[in-house]
Symmetry: C2
Subunit: 320 residues, 2 copies
DNA sequence: CTGAAAGCGCTAACAA
DNA sequence: TTGTTAGCGCTTTCAG
């Protein structure tokens, strides 16, 4: 069933039907009535596809994440979806698995399906193939990047200052009198390097110029943290700063198992923190705020307003 | 830029261009060449919107979840997306928050945007407004339901036998010599009731007809589990069976805190199980398989094949 | 093998 | 206030 059926039923032209559906005014209350009746009677539902073809807007946005199973991405995607729902948009979710190729494929698909805008969450750091691609892409369709970084024109960035977050945590620990901080890096994204840098900076500022030597690189997940702990505690260490709650959970497991007198801190302030014993202090990277900002920025662009090129959000410590 | 531009550049008609793009054959290698050159040169990307309008397929599927931040839904959504990606489909993710209204709104939106099919994950049990709605809906667009249940015609169901899962766990515990099992129900979905029933059944079969008296109802989350534990351990209890890993984590926290000689088991076999001390035995409800089956069913329908009305997947115990 | 032309279902000038 | 008509960008008969 289409708009012609409704027009016929109502005894008016399709233009009039279109007008009442889109509340464009210039319709007599009489016609209005007739059309509304027909609408009801036929239980008509307009094709947004056809509509999009002419108005050049699908009211659909794309969201690229690396892995939606990661609570961090899930939280971001959740907020983005809720916020856009309020504004009448739907969300296409795309999991890149961290592959640049897939990222590009998805971006192409979104363009072909005429997504109104795209939000990319988390990136391997600048310079990848996808970044080159984005230079062209962002001129055609609005892109906002969450917690990524590149000098790409036309791309808007919303970032949580992860580096600062780790700095804050380190300063707290040092103030607590910890002498031997260690950092675990579990990823190779832009954000992961920022955090690492925060660790090094904080130590340097407090008279430990060799922070880099107190860093262990490992993979993601609880087990990786556990394995890293094995190595770390072979030398003196009374505080392990982690770039992820999950990693911290692994370290904590080791600490508990061998009754090691050291403290461990996480990052993300996920629900894991409360679930563990003892509860985990963590850096709250404020996913909610970050996601909301990203939506606001994209929404502004879609509404023809201008938006900040770069939005920086400051994390905060949650001590337990 | 559109297909006309390509046609002009190649010096052929749009029909020919369309033919080569869609590999419909009946094109001389000469024309083929010309078109391909033009395609390259213009860097042409066809509008899938316009295409969808005529072929009546968007190659987009909708997925309704209650809350993508829940690791269970995240895992399902992840697999669905990956599997459909392979098949050339994109996924629209919709979070209902458990609201029937929102569910209906989303279903309508998906229909208007002409999603080729819909997968609904998790349901409050049959009889809601949305179920009525689905009766009509499913006739227009293919729907497969994951872990929900209703007597809705045309809707396909893929379910993990959660009830059996809890039964298995109870039997294991009883075999271990546990005398006082207790169950914690933390939700009011169809699945939650199934699990509960599994507990009651298992106990009954082993000579405890009053299983219902050993059930505590609570909310979701670690804290809810902790609170529930307070009550539970006021009477004899040496094993707490939980309907969620999260709840189990809360109970475990209490058990550890007060050194209570009881065991606790979870459900979902999430990564939490490994992170906790001691690690948590859990029912693996095989999200991956469930999601894959759902995709296979929907894909079959979309390909014009027939598919099972109901697919039942048996969970398994993961003992730690 | 190729192209003209008629849709797909809608919006938006433009006339009336 | 209304209706006619020309697109939007593509696929697909149907002739040739």
């Amino acid at each position: 069933m289409n708009i012609y059926d409704v027009a016929r039923e109502a005894g008016v032209s399709i233009a009039t039907v279109s007008r009442v559906i889109n509340e464009k005014g210039n319709v007599s209350s009489k016609s209005m009535q007739k059309v509304n009746d027909a609408l009801k009677k036929l239980n008509y539902s307009p094709s947004l596809l056809a509509r999009a073809l002419t108005v050049k807007s699908t009211h659909t946005v794309g969201v690229l994440t690396i892995d939606i199973r990661d609570p961090y991405y899930a939280a971001i995607a959740y907020t983005i979806e809720q916020e856009f729902y309020k504004r009448g948009y739907n969300m296409m979710l795309c999991n890149t698995g961290g592959s640049e190729e897939k990222k590009i494929e998805y971006l192409n698909a979104l363009a072909q399906k005429q997504a109104d805008g795209v939000i990319i969450v988390g990136s391997s750091f600048g310079g990848g193939r996808a970044d080159d691609f984005l230079k062209e892409y962002a001129q055609k369709i609005p892109v906002v990047y969450i917690n990524g970084y590149s000098e790409i024109k036309d791309v808007h960035f919303v970032i949580c200052d992860d580096r600062r977050g780790i700095e804050l945590m380190c300063e707290h620990l040092l103030k607590q009198g910890k002498k031997h901080l260690h950092y675990i890096q579990d990823d190779i994204t832009f954000s992961a390097y920022q955090k690492r840098q925060g660790f090094v900076d904080a130590l340097k500022r407090h008279g430990f110029p060799d922070g880099n030597k107190s860093i262990t690189e490992t993979g993601a997940g609880v087990n990786a943290g556990y394995e890293a702990a094995k190595k770390i505690f072979q030398t003196p260490c009374d505080a392990v700063v982690c770039g992820e709650d999950l990693t911290a959970a692994g370290v904590l497991k080791y600490i508990n198992e061998f009754s090691i007198p050291a403290v461990v801190t996480g990052f993300n302030n996920s629900y894991l923190c409360e679930a563990l014993m003892p509860p985990l202090s963590s850096v709250d990277n404020r996913v909610g705020e970050v996601a909301c900002s990203a939506v606001e920025v994209l929404d502004a662009i879609l509404s023809g307003k201008t938006a900040a090129e770069k939005t920086l959000i400051t994390p905060r410590l949650v001590l337990r």
